[in-house]
Amino acid sequence: MSRINRHQYPTVLFSLILITGLISSYFLLNRPAKNKIVKQISMPVILVSQTPLPTPSVAPLFKKWSESQPSIDGSIELIVEYHELPNSQVSNSIFVKNKEKEKQLIFTQDLIIDDQMKIPFNTWSPDETHFFIEKQTPIDSRYLVFKTSGEQFKDGLFLDVNEYFNQKEIPFAIDKVTGWAAPGLLLVTTLKDDQTKGPSYWFEINSLKFIQLSTQF
């Protein structure tokens, strides 16, 4: 065997290092996984019943609320129930609760959230045959008269006081419908163009006439 020449030392050394690196890499990459020691816990066996698990109750997402007003002798009651809807509207449902405490739906309408059917303090006619509702919007209020029985008027389920007032071309604007001067007579106050108080009117629900009063209310 010939002796390694001095000049061949670097080459031999490099070769040895390379071979060692290759062999080491082989063994590193192919080493077997270590055995994991798993703690063994004995658990009781639970038989799963066949009935479904109870689901937790979810609080209703849509609000409900109501307001009401009795008639002047307390014998019957007007109720408006409000119910938020998924489409951001609110259903407004008007009920009459009679002497026997039975509830009758008179009218229902879905309104945008800024609008609302409100029950005025003086909603009931003194003879309890009619009531009026104030439909409030951010711009104005409209006053609707219904029959307690839920029956129709000649032109529909309710009288729109504002609409009839506008048809008469009275040179004032409705300020408020304040209540009933007598059975069948709604009291309407008005405003002039300069927003000062105008004359007051009776709205006669049988004839649909507006009668100007000599006294302001």
Binding site: I72, S125, D127, A182, L185, F217
Partner: protein, 235 residues
């Protein structure tokens, strides 16, 4: 002799004239109900009658006292002095307090044709039902079965003037002046106040007495409400 009588006669006549003018001007407070006034202070129930108000015929609700229980607010007969009613003419509101506890707050209608006079009053008689009439022309009214009447008086507004708190079945415009001087309330509110106030109702007509004086009523142009203290009547 005649000459000696002239001067004394003039003095006497002047004195009589002074007395007449004094008493005539003292009658400035008109009757709340110009026709019925206080003509009949016994209970008057007229079922199946018709009423008139503002030229409209009004159906009169029936009253059946035999089916009614004479109810009172229990435990309060000895606390008459703590009860006090306040009427705010500006807001058309009534507040009933027992001490500093609010018993009832509601809207009322005071005088439009004939102002309800402000002042400090006391209830002197309670009458379950009476007839009230007055006015003239389009303003004329004749109303049977006016329910739950509590007549009040003061040194300035005597009993004969017939001012009262009472129920009103002929209109529903509370929160606005609608009466001829009395304080109108919804019948359901009048019934509550009637059963709460002194004198405690023993019969359908009950007068106050030394042992059971009537509840005080303050009728004010405006009322200032503060929590924890009694309402303040602003002139």
């Amino acid at each position: 002799m005649v000459k000696h009588l002239i001067l004394p006669s003039i003095v006497v006549l002047l004195f009589i004239g002074f007395l007449l003018s004094f008493f005539l001007t003292k009658q400035k407070i008109a009757c709340a109900n110009s026709i019925s006034c206080t003509n009949n202070l016994s209970t008057l129930i007229e079922n199946d009658a018709q009423g008139i108000f503002l030229g409209q015929i009004v159906d009169v609700p029936d009253i059946n006292p035999s089916s009614e229980k004479m109810s009172t607010v229990l435990g309060e007969t000895d606390q008459a002095s703590s009860k006090h009613i306040y009427v705010d003419l500006a807001q058309q509101k009534l507040y009933a307090f027992d001490g500093d506890k609010l018993f009832l707050e509601t809207l009322v209608s005071t005088g439009k044709w004939g102002r309800t006079p402000p002042g400090e009053y006391r209830i002197w008689v309670k009458i379950r039902s009476t007839r009230m009439s007055g006015g003239s022309g389009n303003d004329a009214y004749d109303l049977p079965n006016v329910p739950f009447n509590m007549f009040f008086y003061s040194p300035q507004v005597p009993k004969s003037r017939g001012y009262a708190l009472h129920g009103a079945y002929w209109h529903n415009n509370f929160g606005h002046e609608m009466s001829h001087g009395c304080v109108n309330m919804r019948p359901i509110d009048a019934e509550q106040i009637y059963n709460w106030t002194n004198p405690i109702s023993q019969k359908s007509t009950t007068y106050e007495s030394v042992d059971d004086p009537g509840t005080q009523i303050s009728i004010c142009n405006q009322i200032l409400l503060n929590q924890g203290t009694n309402p303040v009547c602003l002139e």
